[in-house]
């Protein structure tokens, strides 16, 4: 078995007096599509922010691709934060150019291919895009990078059905080719749950349940049912 891509040991994180993650332990296997699932406010985005070194834990150990998190490490990670927004008066072409100049591992050809396939016109101005178009562009900027770890925080939220399907197809295409690890958090589980190799269910700042998606299905049913159970205070999963 390969070294885990992300490893947290006894991590605590609080914002002021509010505990966000508590005795948080996780090992993310490499080269898989990993679902990070759980109700709103369970700590999923905070987990990602710790991986990126955007927050510091109160205590505990974190290893990401074998190193401690931080900017030295982040060239190996493509991160799509939740509520990500592009600003400025870039066109799509300009954004891709910018990516090629500044983002490590960014493949401009691949980005153009993806844009065409996701039906994003390269002359389109970003400040004139719909939410769905912008989300597709954000995803393109992540998937065009040859990096070992991709983190997508709620890539489907607030996006029209057509864009979602396009995003799903792009992800599947990407997984067919790639050897990367992709972490996806989503609460729109129904659409995405067939995609996961393995799943971590987060509840109240802890990993409540984890395992291979197919085994969890055999034992508990769908991921959506599981998360629903959890958000209704279901214990003893």
């Amino acid at each position: 078995m390969k070294d885990p891509v992300v490893q947290f040991r006894d991590v605590n994180l609080s914002y002021g007096s509010r505990m966000v993650l508590q005795d948080f332990n996780i090992e993310i296997p490499s080269q898989q599509v990993v679902g990070i699932l759980g109700p709103n406010g369970s700590g999923k985005s905070s987990f990602f922010r710790l991986i990126m070194g955007l927050n510091q834990p109160d205590d505990g150990e974190i290893a990401v691709l074998g190193h401690s998190p931080g900017w030295r490490n982040n060239h190996q990670i493509a991160y799509l934060p939740d509520r990500a927004r592009w600003y400025g008066n870039h066109t799509v072409e300009g954004a891709i150019q910018w990516g090629g100049d500044l983002l490590p591992g960014f493949d401009s050809m691949k980005a153009k291919e993806l844009a065409e396939w996701m039906e994003i016109d390269s002359s389109m101005r970003i400040d004139e895009m719909s939410k769905g178009q912008e989300a597709r562009l954000m995803l393109i900027m992540c998937l065009a990078r040859k990096v070992p770890l991709i983190i997508l925080d709620e890539p489907f939220t607030g996006i029209d059905t057509h864009s979602r399907e396009r995003i799903m197809d792009a992800l599947i295409d990407y997984v067919t080719e790639g050897e990367q690890t992709i972490l996806i958090s989503t609460h729109e589980i129904y659409e995405a749950e067939g995609l996961f190799d393995s799943v971590f269910l987060i509840n109240e700042g802890q990993v409540a349940l984890s395992g291979e998606a197919e085994l969890l299905r055999a034992e508990h049913g769908s991921m959506m049912q599981l998360v629903k159970k959890m958000s209704h205070g279901g214990r003893g999963l």
Binding site: T176, G194, L195, R217
Partner: protein, 130 residues
């Protein structure tokens, strides 16, 4: 249950059960019933994964299982095809049916039904009395 149609293949996937088995069994069924022609090309792993919105690894393992069954063949650089041999399909179908019957008989035995009981129930079913 999500219904999908990919080429000549039809799937109904239930996300609360393991997907791998559903794909294998539904494709076995389509082949056994003759809904997919002998020698027909099956969708690529990518096509089927995108059509079903599932992980390509799941599709790949399902395809490997069908190949072990002898129901499909992979030709290098060309893709995966349904076997040309009607004999293989017939044999697979009868073995599968045999197994289904054995499982059924074992379950009934568990409930205390003899073969005789079973066949009289089936007889009544045939006559539309149950």
């Amino acid at each position: 249950m999500k219904e999908h149609e990919i080429g000549t293949l039809r799937f109904g996937l239930d996300l609360s059960l393991p997907l791998y088995e559903q794909i294998v069994n539904q494709m076995r069924g389509s082949i056994a019933r003759g809904e997919i022609a002998l020698g027909e090309k099956v969708p690529s792993v990518r096509e089927l994964a995108q059509g079903l919105k599932i992980n390509p690894n799941t599709v790949m393992s399902a395809y490997k299982e069908l190949e072990r069954d002898g129901l499909t063949e992979t030709r290098r650089g060309q893709g995966t095809f349904i076997t040309h041999s009607q004999e293989t399909v017939d044999q697979f179908r009868s073995e599968w049916a045999e197994k289904a019957i054995d499982d059924f008989i074992e379950k009934m035995d568990n409930l205390g039904y003899s073969l005789e009981d079973i066949s009289s129930i089936i007889q009544r079913k045939k006559e539309g009395r149950v």
